[in-house]
């Protein structure tokens, strides 16, 4: 019998020196940039956090599903439907809190639908996710009417004193509610997965469902609950788009963010903090890209050539970066062993 697994396990506890080194270097770079151009630097960093919020929420959704063994490529669709219905709730009730809650519930419902298809009806999980994506684009596009008016969007809340710290203050302590929530949820999901009994069971079900079954764990129930939680997280990402970021709905406004979330989840080896790193990278590339377009004419002379590039080219930056990083790292990631497989007993 061969028992050795030659591939790295999903990282959980080791001290990530490499990661610490990279972030340390980045911090120094940020300081240098801040000394040379304080406003632009703060703007880029603030925008990095904003841009990364839906990505990390989507990635957390993916992590919950996939750690329990269910592939979810329907995150894009889950986000889009929740964004749309969250927006409509806002139009109808005028209450942003209720609208956010509504988006969460919609996410949970779509999650339950995905669980029903993948677990109970044993539809191929890739197909189930694709069904959700197609349904989302079709229905939101069909029901969307131009000219619906909204009543505002979620606005930044500054935390007293903390918000006054240079750089860190505006970047971390002067954000709207869903952005705060996403930062807290990274920690919550990490603790849930790696420090609680529920997390242990979730990971067992995703790695070796038969083993979980033989110790009395109801495999499919655990999967259902995790997929529904994942749906709620994707719903929150959707709420971010319409209720916090843009303030209104546009056709196909997720624009691939659900798929970027999945990429980031893999980049982060199915861990919340790893995925956060990936999200920040994507967010940063996005922020940089818009700053460049914005400050085209003020670039120092040795960077002036960037201003001459076609804007579409610079717009590619976040995606190219994501692909490059993924191509470089994904080879070493190991998905949960039982992912995508229906669990059957007899």
């Amino acid at each position: 019998m061969r028992i050795t697994g030659s591939i790295a396990r999903p990282a959980a506890a080791r001290i990530p020196w490499l990661t610490i080194g990279v972030w340390g270097a980045l911090a120094i770079l940020v300081l240098i940039a801040y000394m040379r151009a304080p406003q632009a630097t703060t703007a880029v960093l603030t925008s990095t956090i904003r841009q990364s919020t839906p990505i990390i929420l989507g990635a957390l959704a993916g992590i919950m599903c996939e750690r329990s063994g269910v592939i979810n490529i329907g995150i894009e669709g889950m986000m889009l439907i929740s964004a749309f219905l969250g927006f409509l709730f806002n139009v109808w009730t005028g209450d942003l809190f209720l609208a956010t809650l509504g988006a969460l519930l919609v996410g949970a419902a779509v999650g339950a639908f995905h669980a029903l298809m993948s677990i109970t009806l044993k539809v191929d999980q890739i197909i189930a996710g694709t069904v959700i994506n197609i349904l989302a684009i079709g229905t939101t596009g069909y029901f969307y009417q131009q000219g619906l008016t909204t009543r505002g969007k979620l606005t930044p809340v500054s935390i007293p004193f903390l918000a006054d710290i240079p750089i860190i203050g505006p970047v971390f302590f002067s954000n709207p509610p869903i952005t705060y929530a996403s930062l807290i949820l990274i920690v919550v999901v990490h603790v849930l997965l790696f420090r609680t009994a529920w997390g242990l069971r979730t990971r067992a079900v995703g790695e070796h469902p038969a083993a979980a079954d033989t110790v009395g764990i109801a495999v499919n129930r655990v999967r259902y609950i995790n997929v529904i939680i994942g749906g709620m997280l994707a719903g929150l990402a959707g709420a971010f788009l319409t209720l916090e970021s843009v303030g209104s709905f546009e056709r196909n406004m997720t624009n691939g963010r659900g798929f970027v979330s999945l990429a980031v989840m893999i980049f982060g080896k199915w861990t919340p903090f790893g995925a956060w790193g990936g999200s920040l990278l994507f967010g940063f590339a996005n922020a940089l890209q818009s700053q460049i377009q914005f400050l085209k004419n003020q670039l120092p002379s040795w960077l002036a050539w960037i201003g001459d590039l076609p804007p579409q080219f610079i717009g590619m930056l976040p995606y190219v970066l994501t692909i490059a990083v993924l191509a470089g790292f994904v080879g070493r990631a190991r998905p949960p062993a039982a992912i995508g497989k229906v669990y059957e007993k007899e």
């Binding site: 028992i3 529920w198 079954d213 110790v215």
Partner: protein, 525 residues
């Protein structure tokens, strides 16, 4: 030993059907406090099925289960665990990427509020380790453990749940003789404390050594009950199979011909990059069986993988019929006429979701008569399957049943049938009879000898010294990645081989011969 008279577990008239087979028919069983009940039976007799019913993984069609005299409904493992039943499965149920402690507490976690309390878990595991002499490191990852250690984890898992009825399904199939001895010590200390054990094995010696009572199943029915005092290996074999079984292999003189497999200073690395096979040179000739003896984990597995193309050869050369096949693809090696019975049947030998028929042509499906151009010839494949199922006595509802539904031993027979039915000049068989019942072992051994007599070269790797001694013409002993000696089987003794396998220097051993004129007989480090 004094088994009590209190019945802790009773099954009455259990019947269980699967599509096309009755796995258990009116099976009744009693288990007394403090005893070891051995369950014997051919492959597919229904042993695992019965145990899965007692553990709640399957549900009986009719019949009832009583625990300490009370009728109980076991609708899932959580019920059986609650009633004190623990089971170590034929294929272990451990999460490889979890630590020992995480595996043990899974489903019954030690907690501190909502959080896992791994320190409490470690304490309890250490306590159990000490109490029962089961040595494990709670923080080791299961994937890094040997099979014997994994089994200890499984036993602690049951004890942690306070099981006093322990089901062990073929626990010794993958253990070294020493590990088996350790397991028996553990079993005895458990029963001495009042636990009861159901023990399944195909090794009759073991059953006679450990059991208080022996129950025999055949084709889903109980055919008899006996005790080690009344029974012998021969009588047990007869009870199981329903006819007399020859326990020795009949074989005539070998007539070795030209070399078919030649290894020239082959070095192989394991998954961690360690040299597990170190400059091994040997030759297997047409018409002879070369057995490789050795304690598991001395490089035999990796050597076979390297020869068959499943693992890179780090340095050295592999020749088949004089042609260099070093690092050739498995298909090319297979096409030289090399048949391979892999050690890990689940992993390397079968596609579990495919039918028996498809698995039987897994390495020939693209050649005539199974293919005409690019089209499969289903009729030829089915005919072939029916023939082999009959010939090798594979117990399956039919050729189209998925292999995953077969019993452990019958899965193994599918592989044996596929590989032995090929027109091969070279047969590489790793643990060919692991998990196989005595009746079928007899047949498989006869077939391997027949292959030899037809001029095939056979390389046999087995953890069973008896098997090596019964089949081989020459025996090579592997220790720490090297062939430390090659002996003619006729003059080799158990003691001598045992010493060599334990790392004794060959110079201490009388009448040792040197393999192929250049075997490495160097002293060990």
């Amino acid at each position: 030993m004094s088994a009590g008279s209190e019945i802790v577990l009773e099954a009455r008239n259990i019947t269980k059907r699967f599509p096309g087979v009755v796995a258990n028919e009116n099976v009744s069983l009693k288990l007394y406090r403090g005893e070891v009940l051995a369950l014997l039976g051919e492959n597919g007799a229904g042993k695992t099925t019965l145990m899965n019913i007692l553990y709640g993984l399957y549900h009986q069609d009719s019949g009832e289960v009583l625990i300490r005299g009370e009728p109980v409904r076991i609708s899932g493992p959580s019920d059986s665990i609650r009633h004190g039943i623990g089971m170590v499965h034929q294929h272990f149920m451990l999460v490889p990427v979890f630590t020992v402690a995480e595996n043990i507490i899974l489903g019954a976690e030690t907690r501190n509020g909502p959080f896992l309390d791994l320190n409490a878990a470690r304490r309890q595991i250490r306590e159990l380790s000490r109490q029962y002499n089961l040595d494990v490191d709670p923080d080791a990852y299961v994937k890094d453990l040997s099979v014997g250690q994994q089994q200890r984890v499984e036993i602690i898992k049951a004890l942690y749940r306070k099981a006093d009825i322990l089901i062990l399904d073929e626990p010794t199939a993958v253990l070294t003789p020493q590990e088996t001895e350790e397991l028996f010590t553990i079993i005895r200390s458990l029963t001495a404390r009042g636990a009861s054990v159901i023990f399944i094995s195909h090794k009759l010696k073991e059953v006679l050594a450990i059991a208080d009572r022996i129950m025999v199943l055949r084709r889903g029915r109980v055919v008899g009950e006996t005790t080690p005092r009344e029974a012998t290996e021969r009588s047990l074999a007869e009870m199981m199979v329903g006819r007399s079984v020859m326990m020795e292999v009949e074989k005539g003189e070998a007539h070795p011909g030209t070399p078919v497999l030649t290894l020239d200073r082959v070095t192989v690395l394991d998954d961690r990059g360690q040299r597990v096979v170190n400059e091994v040179s040997l030759e297997v000739h047409a018409g002879e069986i070369l057995g490789i003896a050795g304690v598991q984990g001395n490089g035999q597995t990796e050597l076979v993988e390297a020869i068959t193309g499943l693992r890179p050869v780090h340095s050295g050369r592999v020749l088949i019929n004089g042609r260099d096949v070093t690092n050739a693809s498995p298909r090319r090696i297979s096409e030289t006429g090399c048949a391979h019975v892999p050690e890990d049947r689940q992993e390397d030998g079968l596609v579990l979701t495919y039918s028996v028929a498809d698995n039987l042509v897994l390495n020939t499906y693209y050649t005539p008569p199974f293919a005409r151009g690019i089209v499969r010839n289903d009729r030829a494949i089915l005919n072939h399957a029916s023939r082999l199922i009959e010939r090798y006595d594979v117990r399956t509802p039919g050729p189209l049943t998925p292999v995953s539904a077969l019993s452990g031993g019958n899965k193994q027979k599918v592989i044996i049938a596929r590989e032995l039915s090929r027109e091969g000049r070279l047969l590489i068989a790793a643990q060919p009879t692991r998990g196989i019942d005595v009746g079928s072992i007899e047949f498989i051994h006869q077939r391997i000898v027949a292959e030899r007599d037809q001029g095939a070269a056979v390389l046999l790797v087995s953890a069973e010294l008896d098997e090596i001694m019964a089949l081989s013409d020459r025996i090579a002993v592997m220790y720490h990645g090297k062939i430390v000696a090659t002996l003619p089987a006729a003059s080799a003794t158990r003691e001598e081989l045992g010493l060599l396998m334990a790392g004794a220097q060959p110079t201490n051993v009388p009448h040792e011969t040197i393999a192929d004129g250049r075997a490495t007989v160097k002293a060990q480090r």
